[in-house]
Symmetry: C2
Subunit: 170 residues, 2 copies
DNA sequence: CGTGGTCTGTTACAGTGTAACAGGGCCGTC
DNA sequence: GACGGCCCTGTTACACTGTAACAGACCACG
């Protein structure tokens, strides 16, 4: 499907239970997490996750609603938002703030590493990688500023490797 | 987003000469930049900038429109959006993607430094700082991923120094 | 004076997101 | 089984965000 750029830092994943290790795909992980946490892995939530996972690029909530709708059975965007809230809270999808759109979560996000989203202007795919260096820079910067972080986002727009190879008139 | 061809590092929005050096305030800088670049510093653009600058927190486009409107003379949001586009392109305001709102630009954003926005959950103020460390971490991470950046955003949500002092545990 | 370009006003509309309430399914208790 | 509580979903309504398209105003320039 969509190949994530590998975690380039080469630093191993931190957290033992949450990340997509080798063979476990996102849907299996969702099922396991919900079971472990006693949450309801409902039909709507599963189908919402499938819709997001089945797309390399970021999907808007209304796009997802459209994909989930069939003639005679329409899924309202508000239901999709609630499913996305659930999936986001449980680390199964991410929201791309600069696009108002959602992507499947491909990493485990243990401590000590910042997640970075790589948004390709050409093909629209959204890659995800993690970086210990950025997290360290962030930590020191915030400490100097006296700011206590709760969450943060790092989003980069540009051209992915595949598109550089294919199209670049440079 | 930015129409500026950026120098080699690729992620800096503007060139090195328009930063707030010492005492120059934002409005004076705006006037100077427009004069230097032969751009129209119109009434709407000036008042939009004043509205954004006169607020510590991020303002939405409709908030700005409301502030600029007086009985009998209403400013439409679409006009504000155009003014904001202009101001953003010229490095006078920033867009906070996670809030869909705008803040005045307080730094010069020379090359080699990432701009970081510090959004306080308690008081709503948005601080701005720059970090060479984060930029370096970003550069190495993107290089490893084979991703060519054009622009990027770093936004942190948390608690600012003032609110930690005031509200901590109470 | 005309002309062309930019800026603004206006309307219309698409997309994003939340609040509030109603109904339905599930599960534990009585 | 009936009841009641809780969560999830459907539905409606609405507010906010953002863009497209066209018309008029305004200004510099020949």
């Amino acid at each position: 499907m969509h190949g994530h750029p590998s975690p380039s830092d080469g630093t191993g994943p931190a957290d033992a239970h949450d990340h997509a290790c080798g063979g476990e795909d996102l849907l299996a992980r969702a099922e396991r997490i919900c079971r472990e946490r006693g949450l309801h892995y409902t039909d709507l939530r599963r189908r919402t996750l499938e819709a997001v996972a089945g797309e390399g690029r970021a999907l808007g909530a209304y796009d997802i609603a459209e994909r989930l709708s069939v003639p005679g059975r329409r899924v309202a965007a508000v239901s999709v938002y609630r499913a996305l809230d659930f999936l986001t809270e449980n680390g199964l999808v991410h929201r791309i703030a600069s696009r108002n759109a959602f992507v499947p979560c491909g990493h485990g996000h243990g401590g000590g590493e910042s997640t970075v989203f790589l948004i390709c202007r050409t093909c629209g795919t959204v890659g995800e990688t993690v970086s210990r260096d950025i997290q360290r820079g962030l930590d020191s910067t915030l400490a100097s500023a006296g700011f206590k972080p709760v969450s943060h986002i790092v989003e980069v727009e540009g051209e992915c490797g595949a598109c550089q190879g294919r199209g670049g008139t440079e």
